[in-house]
């Protein structure tokens, strides 16, 4: 499933990061790499962007960007 489909409070493991060059590289460099755990902390009041916790820090992505990230083992 995609990261953008996760509910607030759920945690998953990153399986694949898709998307175009710069954005993809940027997301990877911020530590959202294959195999890392990622938690959806909350969605913004207007449902976009969303706040994530990865490697112990908080980061925000737009829903369209999160839709390029595949997650597995969502719990």
């Amino acid at each position: 499933m995609f990261l953008s489909e996760m509910q607030a409070g759920q945690t998953g493991t990153v399986a694949h990061v898709g998307g175009n060059g710069i954005l993809r590289r940027r997301i990877l460099e911020m530590g959202i790499v294959k195999g890392s755990d990622i938690t959806v902390e909350k969605y913004a009041p207007l449902k976009d962007p969303l706040e994530l916790i990865v490697k112990g820090y908080h980061i925000s992505l737009r829903v369209e960007e999160a839709a390029r990230i595949t997650v597995e083992n969502v719990r």
Partner: protein, 726 residues
Amino acid sequence: MRPKLTIALAGNPNSGKTTIFNNITGTRQKVGNWPGVTVAKKEGRIHKFGYDLKIIDLPGTYSLTPFSIEEIVARNYILDERPDVVIDIIDASNLERSLYLATQLREIDCKVVFALNMADLARTRGMKINAGKLAELLDVPVVFTVGNKNEGIDDLLQQSIQLAESGTCAPRARNVKYSQDIENAIEGLQRFIEDKTDGPQPYNTRWVAIKLLEDDKIIKERILQKDADVGLEILQTTDALRKRLEERFDDDPQIVMTDERYGFIAGIIKEVQTTSTLRRVDISRNIDLVLTNRFIGFPIFMFFIWAMFQLTFSLGGYPVQWIGSAVGAVSTIAGAVLPDSLVKDLILDGIIAGVGSVIVFLPNILILFFCIALFEDTGYMARSAFLMDKIMHLIGLHGKSFIPMLMGFGCNVPAIMATRTLESEKDRILTILITPFMSCSAKLPVYIVLAGAFFGLRAGTVIFAIYLLGILLSIVTGRLFRSTLLKGRDAPFVMELPPYRVPMLKSLLIHMWDRSKLFLKKMGKIILVGSVIVWALTVFPRNIQYSVDYAAQINRINDTYASRLETADDARKHQLESEKQAAVSALVRAQQAEQIEKSYIGQLGKAVAPIFAPLGIQWKGGVALLTGFVAKEIVVSTLGVLFAADTDQDSDVLQNALAASGMTPLSALSMMVFVLLYLPCLATVAAIRRETGSYKWMFFSIAYSTVLAWVMAFVIYQGGRFLGYS
């Protein structure tokens, strides 16, 4: 002579880098821009431990991949200026991500010292870091620091000096190890480069090989520049290797290498960091439960913005008055001391009035910048972008563009300077281009006079509609430019939400003062020149042939009243005295009006009258608009002078004069729209020049806004007439 050393500070945004820089250098800072870009460059010089230390604060970055301006600036500095030591400030509570930049610094092969900052915070979050192990694994000196308590700073500097003096280059063994296929490609390429080029290498060849495999545009260019033939050979070999790797991994090599770097970091983390199973205390998360709450997040945000405006414009209002009176006093004293001459007029009406009009904004600017520094240093700025991003994204902008645009309603100058918080240059330019459409507070007096004269009770609604039109056009402009001139998606919203921190007063004040100083310096110069030019246009030529001999008429009035005053009783005297004064000042105003009409600016106004005619604006309105270039509120005072109305007493006189001049509600509306949109004031133009770093964008903004103003006013005036309004 003391020995000199250059130390550069690198680190992630929010790692506490600026705090450490402030602690090391204190107030001995020089703030400027990096050449060619509008990224702030800070440096400071100190004497310590017998050395002359030059400390450079590199822009905060998450990586050294040259995508953003900040990353390019930081990397080029390290590569080309070769600081003696680079201190990498590492947020200890965020070790894993921080080590990404750290490993890149190690790969460049410069002398690095790690500062493990805010380890106390990490401990409260249940993390323990084995610094000795980290130093051993990466072969780098590691120092614990607590930036906001000034702990460990001396130790950090001592270690840096020691490393700089050690002379030995950092050993190359302890670097990121990639998987076998990639290591083979790196080694092959490294050997190829070393074979093909002779003499000393400018950069570490392993690093160059890695960058080439990552398809680094800047390094590719540099290799071609150095020697086109050899460069081409190297690039061909690189392409072949990249293709092989891509087939092997079924993905772009640079992505694979980023992955593997994090894999290497994960290995280090396992050895040096222990996270206790104790429940972590995370105050920041609790604060965010409230501040970015689904229901009350927005109301709280609106309250903060409201409070910022209140502080800026009401609290700032008092000192503004004091400075206003101080400028007035200086003007009075100068007026009394200087003999009557053209020079006196220049000093009073040109220089003092011009510079005074900038200085009076200083309290507002200081307060506004203080509030913004507070938002930034606490970490709330990122939250406001988080809240507003969805809305701003509709215009093609980043959430962070909201605050500058909102500030535009107060004054465009600080608003445009606030765009510095935006990371992407395209976002910054787009925001700068649309911010002037936020109707600033100086335009309000113009609307009040015009709407008051022609719309009576509906004046409030009309003014509100003008503001709305400005917002609407900024949205249209934003979308238009995003799909044409500044093509490309808005910056990806990959933004860290840093933990909330208690801000330090010292750094808030430094922040505030840095920006205000820039405002004063640059704006002051341009405003001075501009006001003197407009002043000269209004007072020259001097030898005007007046239609009436005003001096003679005034003398005649004085004479007749003098004889009548002699015979009158006390009560009558009083009445006569005020009658006389009214008659004289009416003549003086008539003379002023004629003087302006015949001055260069009046001639200019008449020359451009055909341009304003289709908008229903007469030449007097045109002249007022021209003088409004200095500052928008001047439009009202020029109208007052031209219509020979005393604007000081009350605005009714001017409004009556306007109505009598043949202006209609429709042409008043057209003029208000024109004032809303046309060229930004001088100070704003100066700010645009400075913040975009180019005259091109400055002239573009002037041309675009003026053309748009003309078209909109034309559509409103002619359309209104077509529909039968007047």
